[in-house]
Amino acid sequence: MPDMGQESLADFRAEIADWIDRTAPASLRDRAFSEDDICWGGKRWVFTSDDQKVWLEACAERGLTAPTWPEAYGGAGFSRAQDKIFKEEMDRLRVKKPLDSFGLWMLGPALLAFGTEEQKRHFLPQITRGEVRWCQGYSEPGAGSDLASVQTRAEDMGDHWLVNGSKIWTSYADKADWIFALVRTDRDAPKHRGISFMLIDMESEGVTTKPIRLISGKSPFCETFFDNVRVPKSYGEGLSAIVGEQNRGWDVAKHLLTHEREMIGGGGSGLTGGRSVASVLADEGQDDPVIMGRAMKLGVDELAMNLTLDRYKDMAKQGGVGNASAMLKYYGTELNKARFELLMSAGGSDALAWEGPYGTLAPEWLRTKANSIEGGTSEVMLDILAKRVLELPGD
């Protein structure tokens, strides 16, 4: 759709709201909302209700699972302004989004920026229709923050790549159909060269997954192993298994990492949701100045951070925030950790059970400790800010 003026945007709002209101099943318009209600799609997805399926199909039909993607690739071709209106109306009408997936968040943007026309036409609609579920294969055991130290190698065997190695922190790898992974296709090149961004079918022989148990209990994370996995060089005409240039996969990965940090700023931090500090404090009385002092500071900092998220969203609309988005990741996750530390202190022994008077507060608290590690550690974010935003010297 072409960009619109204010008036046609008003028309657009009325029209899309009407469509949502008419189409969205009543059962999905409940305020009570759990993680399990979200459809992640994929070949093995079991719909939690018929309505979930109906709603996914209706949205996919109109490109509304990926509203800003071009219509040719299964999107709705919305402008930013339209997309904003669509989300606002979805919120207002209390409708759940039809689909969520790493394909939508991550692979899609990568293909849109780096893919061939054929790759886009082939892979993107599978994502928007919720037919194929993707997982991400970046980190490797032992590599940690140093994402570019990729050891998983893909040997050139003529018509196929032979992939060996393993990935860690692959969320929902045990539920995914395909994986987009960084693999080393040139072992002699410098570290950041010689890496390719490869698309691999999880059903290939030699791919296995193993869930990772965290200190907070079960987790969606897996280790994924590649044992002599044969990956065809092409899945068809123009459908290379590699996205972007061979050996230049690091460029694709970097692009996505920045995109991911902006996403975190875009509302994924959960700062506004969840248990209220005030409610826990009210339960426990407020006679400890140490806890009260911390709560007062946290209250100030949380509101300030929420405003900053708003401000950065506004800035992003005006042309992006670039590396400064590392601030959102760093500050937001550190603040969230502080928030849970405070909740645990305020809750006293009631908060110490795996499941107790405050529900699963304790495992949630433990889980927050990963916030400042996953998706780039706080230390990496500070390095980025120091070097690229403040331009402090590197010598």
Binding site: A278, Q286, M315, Y330, A386, D395
Partner: protein, 368 residues
């Protein structure tokens, strides 16, 4: 609500202000003022008046430029950046807001004919509701007796807004500074600006002098305080950015152990963290301006949030500023010390961190 990014007009105002102040009022001026024993440069203030800054919150019908609260914050922030001393906050922001809300003429503020000071504090902490100064009934008028302290622009202002306790409750008065019975004593505070202790000895006041309603002094004061909290927070945020700018430049240029010190990772991380704090605080300033311009009566939370954040961020910025400069940062010859001293005074003025954090906490449902 308007977006949390500057409008084109705001960017132009900021650029103009920065251009003017960098030239006319660098930090060197503060040192010169101090060494000459004066709190601010009247010629500089006259220039500001000419540019319409004194009338930033005064209606155009009275000769003001009426640019609004967000604009006032921008000016305060730019003044904070180079530690500019002037009657701007007390007069153009605080007093103008009080007079305008009460429907009293404020044109003399815009024209620079008068400057105001606000006399509220009686003890070491900001606590308007606890005001004890007496305004006893005296015929149809009042007699004010008691003391005020930490009165910004207290010795130079030509008029004083003062809060006192009448029989009907707290009442805000608007008096000439030379009224009989009012004495002013300079306080020699670390920021080298104009602060005073005021003594009221049976100072006469009439109903004409009352701002708003008798007994409704806190209500009359509220719009002034909201504007003042926001602008002082903006000044502190500008101060933080100014101190950080000097520090970051030093990190890039200074060499030790054969390297530029900005290449040491421990300093890099601390500088990056500080930058984040400044960035997060900046959001609260923008927001306070937006809320004040849209719904000024509902801005209590927004302005307290801004003042609390700005206070704490400035404290960090000046501490890191001095430490990262090393010994040179401790010398009077360098500017960093002035930033530290002003940050400390501004931290206390119009409510400290705890005062404003408690406002925020109450707004969030905590019984602070």
């Amino acid at each position: 609500m308007a977006m949390l990014i500057p409008t084109e007009d705001e960017t132009m105002l900021r650029d103009a202000a920065r251009g003017f102040l960098d030239d006319a009022a660098p930090v060197a001026n503060l040192r010169a003022n101090r060494d000459q024993g004066r709190a601010f440069d009247p010629d500089l203030w006259a220039e500001m008046v000419k540019m319409g800054w004194a009338g930033v919150l005064v209606g155009e019908d009275e000769g003001g430029s009426d640019m609004g609260f967000a604009a006032a914050n921008i000016l305060a922030e730019e003044m904070g950046r180079t530690l500019v001393a002037s009657p701007f906050l007390s007069s153009a922001v605080i007093a103008a807001s009080a007079l305008r809300a009460a429907g009293r003429p404020a044109g003399a503020i815009a024209s620079g004919d008068v400057t105001y000071a606000l006399a509220v504090d009686e003890g070491p902490k900001f606590a308007p509701a606890a005001t004890a100064m007496q305004a006893s009934a005296d015929g149809n008028g009042f007699r004010l007796s008691g003391t005020k302290t930490f009165v910004g622009e207290g010795t130079s202002a030509t008029r004083i807004l003062v809060l006192a306790k009448a029989e009907a409750g707290l009442t805000l008065f608007d008096l000439e500074a030379d009224r009989v019975g009012l004495t002013r004593d300079k306080l020699d505070l670390v920021d080298s600006r104009d602060h005073a202790a005021l003594t009221f000895d049976n100072v006469q006041a009439t109903g004409e002098d009352v701002v708003g309603e008798v007994g409704q002094g806190l209500a009359a004061l509220a719009p002034a305080l909201r504007a003042g909290h926001a602008a002082l927070a903006a000044e502190l945020t500008g101060l933080s950015a100014g101190a950080f700018g000097i520090t970051a430049a030093y990190l890039k240029e200074r060499r030790q152990f054969g390297r530029r010190i900005g290449s040491f990772q421990a300093l890099q991380h601390r500088a990056a963290h500080l930058w984040c704090e400044i960035e997060v605080s900046a959001s609260t300033i923008l927001n306070a301006g937006r809320v004040l311009d849209a719904t000024p009566d509902e801005a209590d939370l927004a302005v307290s949030l801004a003042k609390a954040r700005a206070t704490e961020t400035a404290n960090l910025a000046v501490r890191e500023g001095v430490q990262m400069h090393g010994g040179i940062g401790m010398t009077d010859e360098y500017d960093m010390g002035f930033y530290m001293k002003r940050a400390r005074v501004a931290a206390e003025w119009l409510g400290d961190y705890g005062y404003h954090a408690a406002v925020v906490a109450r707004a969030r449902g905590m019984a602070a």
